[in-house]
Amino acid sequence: MGDYPSRSVNSTAGHLGVTPRHAQGAGSGVSPSAYEEPPIGGGGALPKKSRFSLETGFRGLSTAAGAMVLVIIVAIAVFLISKAIPAIQADSENFLTYNRWSPNEATPAFGIAVLALGTVLTSLIALVVAVPIALGIALFLTHYAPRRLATPLGFVIDLLAAVPSVVFGLWGRDLFQQPVRDFSVWLNHYFGWLPIFGGEGPFGQSLMLGGLVLAIMVLPIVTSLSREVFQQTPGMNEEAALALGATKWEMIRTAVLPYGKPGVIAAVMLGLGRALGETIALALTLGITWEISFNLIQTGGNSIAANIANSFNEANDTGRGALIASGLVLFAITLIVNMTARAIIYRRREFRDSAA
């Protein structure tokens, strides 16, 4: 990728900035091969194939890029694991199940349980809330809204994706908290018999607040990707459904949704990726407690990324190792989610590959 500046050089001043070796490899219009004179279609004997062509150059470049990604990933993994292992060995409690985080003490004791649970629950809330709304908006934009409305609305949603997460975090803590608290009281009153909505309070800075803020952050990603996916439904398939006597919604169910399913799953996964890794918005909105609890509305909750942000400053060596270990767990969760999604996408793959 470092070679690309030569592109701008090329566009302004021909191949001045290109080294001689490049000139041979990349051709730059003058072919070094045996194709010497027109006609292009050839006339005399079959020319030899050139040894150094654009083709070879690009193959080398892309192979190098691919190899580089692998090297970087392996390097990062080695670094993280080498930091994490000593910390976990120093842990006096079970890293996976213990529910406190005191890695900086003389006898370090810390576990990932509360954090992982909080990460998963907030992300789940975010998806459960955001995905149906996002799909609804995407379908509205692509199939129901008049174009005059769809274009500006789509733009506004894309803007929402550009808002930095700290803004969402502050907004969630300072403004959104009160409505969520009222909503939590209501849920507790009517659905308190469900453990997730039970408890005595206080309500407010809860997994619910964090999850809902995440939902708003995930919404634009899922919406704009799904919109693009739905737009790609072949018009002739939509017409086929309509010509069979489908209503608009039936047409969407028959032609648009099945066709877009893999794309929508990918969009949801990207949204989930953002939710799982979200740091500052959750650090600001969660109650930061250390109880293992499935209660969504009581003040409390914590998450892996938020804990990293909150604890990194005062961490000693073991503390940093412990945080890195928690980061690896987050990585593992993300990986599992992604692989599951891929499995779902691949399952009916032949149906898409054969689609002309």
Partner: protein, 258 residues
């Protein structure tokens, strides 16, 4: 099982552009009618006006009157989906649903209309695939993707999908234009077979095909681009191809036959 289509003074518009002007014709039940004419003269537009697919496009509208057995197709009280179920359509390019198997494609229309019983669906799938001359080729791989068939097979699958809902009228817009001569003949045979049960209107650029399959032929033409297309002559196929009454028809037909 087959109904009469009657168009009187039909004009179709795309926004302010008038694509066809004042078309009137009557199509009798259980006949095959061919629509021919140069490219851009509005054959597809007219065909799509018949089953109200024209209005799917933004700003598209029609004027005039279209009836099916004396019921007004464009009556504001009429359920559009019912019209489209009654008047099925096969498109120029085969368009099976890419996410569905052969079987699911064949019964897609029935499922849309609320048929859920497996035995009914199985019967309908077999019957329509047999009618479309496709059964023998696909009976062992009904669960394979419909889009994995050859172009000609896909088009016959689309025909099966259309006739599975037992429409009264079947509209075909150049159904053979992407097909080889053998598949074309297979589809022509099929049309003869289907004529017993359906009213068929087919758009074609293939003059021999029009002459072979149709009972009546309508010739559309256009004076120059930007002008609306008009129905120049509509008569028995025999007459159109042997003794057309309009000079334009004769020019078009002889021009093609050389």
């Amino acid at each position: 099982m087959a109904k009469r289509i009657e168009a009187s003074n039909v004009s179709s518009y795309y926004g302010s552009f008038k694509a066809i002007d004042n078309v009137s014709m009557t199509v009798e039940p259980k006949t095959i009618t061919a629509l021919i004419g140069p490219s851009g003269c509005g054959k597809s537009t007219f065909l799509r006006s018949i089953n109200r697919m024209h209005e799917v496009l933004p700003n598209a509208r029609i004027e005039g009157r279209l009836t099916i057995d004396d019921q007004n197709i464009y009556d504001p009280d009429v359920d559009i989906t019912a019209v489209r179920r009654m008047i099925g359509m096969v498109f120029q390019r085969p368009n099976p649903f890419p996410t569905m198997s052969i079987y699911e494609n064949a019964v897609a229309g029935l499922k849309l209309n609320g048929v859920k019983k497996k035995s009914l669906l199985d019967d309908a799938a077999e019957k329509s695939l047999r009618s479309a001359n496709l059964w023998d080729e696909v009976k062992d791989r009904l669960d394979r993707p419909g889009a994995g068939l050859s172009g000609g097979q896909q088009q016959r699958l689309c025909i099966a999908r259309t006739i599975a809902v037992e429409p009264q009228v079947v509209l075909m817009d150049e159904p053979c234009s992407a097909l080889d001569p053998i598949s074309t003949l297979a589809i022509e045979d099929l049309m003869f077979k289907l004529k017993d049960r359906f009213t068929i209107i087919i758009v074609t650029h293939n003059m021999q095909q029009a002459a072979r399959v149709s009972d009546k032929t309508g010739f559309f033409s256009i004076d120059k681009t930007g002008e609306p297309g008009r129905l120049i002559e509509y008569a028995d196929t025999q007459k159109i191809f042997s003794n057309p009454s309009q000079k334009k028809t004769e020019d078009y037909i002889t021009g093609r036959f050389g």
